[in-house]
Symmetry: none
Subunit: 238 residues, 2 copies
DNA sequence: CCTACCACCTGCAAC
DNA sequence: CGTTGCAGGTGGTAG
C-alpha cells in the first residue's frame, strides 16, 4: 500500500497544514544507492514544488520550463548552465542541465530532461515533483506521477496498482512552506528484476512494433516483474 | 509638417536591453528625427528592391525571405545576425534582425518583422519595397503597399485614397540598375491625429468582435483622420 | 541522415 | 491596462 506524501502544494507559503497521515511505510529498496550516503527511501525530504507537465515539457523541445517563482526560490545559484542532480524514487540519479534563457526570461531544465521523460514515460498532464533532503542542502529528488486518463497505453498490471497522485484537490492548502515529511515512493518488491540506471545506455528499444522500455525508476517496475521492462505501444502519435 | 509623437519604443527597447547585441541607441523615443538629420520624406532615395509578400512572409513564421540576389547585392555585410534599421514613410525606424539561414540557404529578416507586418497590416500579395538614402550609405527605408483585392477588410476611406505605388511596373527597370529617384512618402497632414510609433505597445485591440489597429505608419493614417484607427474584422482565419 | 541540445524569439493570457 | 510568465516555437551546431 502506498501512502501519501503531500506533494502538495503549490505556490503559497501558507503552511498551516500538513497531512501527517502518512504511516511509515518503509520503502524497500531492492536496490542500490547511487547517489548519497543514505538509502534514498529513508531520507527526510522537503517538498519544493511540482508541475503538471505541458505538451511542450514532454515534447520535442526537450526542455522543462521551471516556473520562475520556484526556480528563483529553490535553485538560486543557477543561471550559468549549472548541472543539477535529482534522485528518483529508485535512487537513480538524473542530471539535468539547468539554465536561464534570457530571451524568454525563464528557467529551464534542458540536457538530460528528455531522457527522463522517456524513461518515466511522461506525458502531458503528468506531474513531476521536486523535493530536497531536509538535512543535506543540495541533495535533490524527483518524483513523478502519471495522470489518470492516459490513452493508448498498454500497461501490464500497473493500471490497477497506480495510485492517485497524492496531491489532489484538498491538499492544495497544505504545504509548500517547507514542511518536512517522509516520502514513500510506492515500494517496489524486492527481486523484481533488473534495475537499470539512466546511464546504462539505451534502455528502450523497439520490438515487434512496440517500444520496450526498461525502467528501474517508476511504479510500473513493480508490475513488470517478469521482464523488468514495460511495453507500450507506439503508434506514431504522441 | 506633422508631429510624430512616436510614443513608442518603450517595449522594444526594454526587450532588447538584455540582449548583448544591443548597441548604443542614439535614437530618442520622443524625437522627431529617428534615423538621420533630415525629414524622411524629402530624402533622396535609391530604390533597391521590392517583394510581393508570400503567405509565409506575413504568417506565423515571423520572417521575411529576402531574395538572394537582392540580399547579396544590397546587404553584403550580413550573415552574422546583423540588425538593420529601416525608416518607414513616417520616419519611424524599424529594426529587423537580418541573417542567413544555412538550412534553407536564404536570407531572412526575422526579429521585428512580425511587428511591422502587424502594424502595416500586411497580407499575402502586398508589396514591400526597400530603398536607401542616395547620400548616406547605410540609411535604409522601407515602404509598403497593399494589393488591390483584400478580402474581409473594412477600411475607412483608404481604399479610395490609396495612392498608386510609386514604384510600379515601369520603375522596376530603374530600380535594379541603381537609379536614383526622389520618392514621395505621402506626407501625413498636420493634425490628422495621433501618430504612433511602432513600439508604442499594444496599438491594436478588440472592439465588438473587430480588431482595431491604430496605425501611424502607413497610408491609411492619412485617410483615417476621423479616428486614426483602422478596423478590420477578424473571423479567426488568417 | 537523424536526434539532442543550445540559445534565441513571440504571442498571448493572466496578473 | 501594461507588464510578464511561459507555452510553444525557431535556426544552428555537434555528434
Amino acid at each position: 500500500m502506498y501512502m501519501d506524501l503531500s506533494l502538495g502544494t503549490t505556490v503559497e507559503d501558507t503552511q498551516e497544514v500538513q497531512e501527517e497521515e502518512q504511516e511509515d511505510d518503509l520503502y524497500q529498496p531492492q536496490d542500490l544507492q547511487h547517489g548519497g550516503g543514505e538509502p534514498s527511501h529513508v531520507i527526510e525530504r522537503e517538498h519544493m514544488f511540482h508541475k503538471v507537465l505541458t505538451p511542450s515539457d514532454v515534447g520535442k523541445l526537450n526542455r522543462l520550463v521551471v516556473p520562475k517563482q520556484h526556480a528563483e526560490r529553490f535553485f538560486p545559484a543557477a543561471g550559468a548552465g549549472t548541472q543539477l542532480c535529482f534522485e528518483d524514487r529508485g535512487g537513480v540519479p538524473w542530471r539535468f542541465r539547468y539554465s536561464y534563457w534570457g530571451s524568454s526570461q525563464s528557467y529551464v531544465m534542458t540536457k538530460g530532461w528528455s531522457r527522463f521523460v522517456r524513461a518515466a514515460r511522461l506525458a502531458a498532464g503528468d506531474t513531476v515533483s521536486f523535493s530536497r533532503a531536509a538535512a543535506a542542502a543540495g541533495r535533490y529528488f524527483i518524483d513523478h506521477r502519471h495522470c489518470q486518463r492516459r490513452s493508448r497505453d498498454i500497461n501490464f498490471g500497473d493500471a490497477a496498482a497506480m495510485p492517485a497522485w497524492p496531491m489532489a484537490a484538498g491538499v492544495q492548502r497544505a504545504a509548500a512552506g517547507g514542511a518536512t515529511m517522509a516520502v514513500d515512493t510506492t515500494p517496489v518488491p524486492a527481486g523484481h528484476g533488473i534495475e537499470v540506471g539512466p546511464t546504462a545506455g539505451a534502455r528502450s528499444f523497439r520490438l515487434f512494433g512496440f517500444n520496450v522500455e526498461c525502467s528501474g525508476d517508476d511504479d510500473d517496475a513493480a508490475a513488470s516483474a517478469s521482464a523488468s521492462a514495460e511495453v507500450e505501444y507506439v503508434d506514431g502519435d504522441s
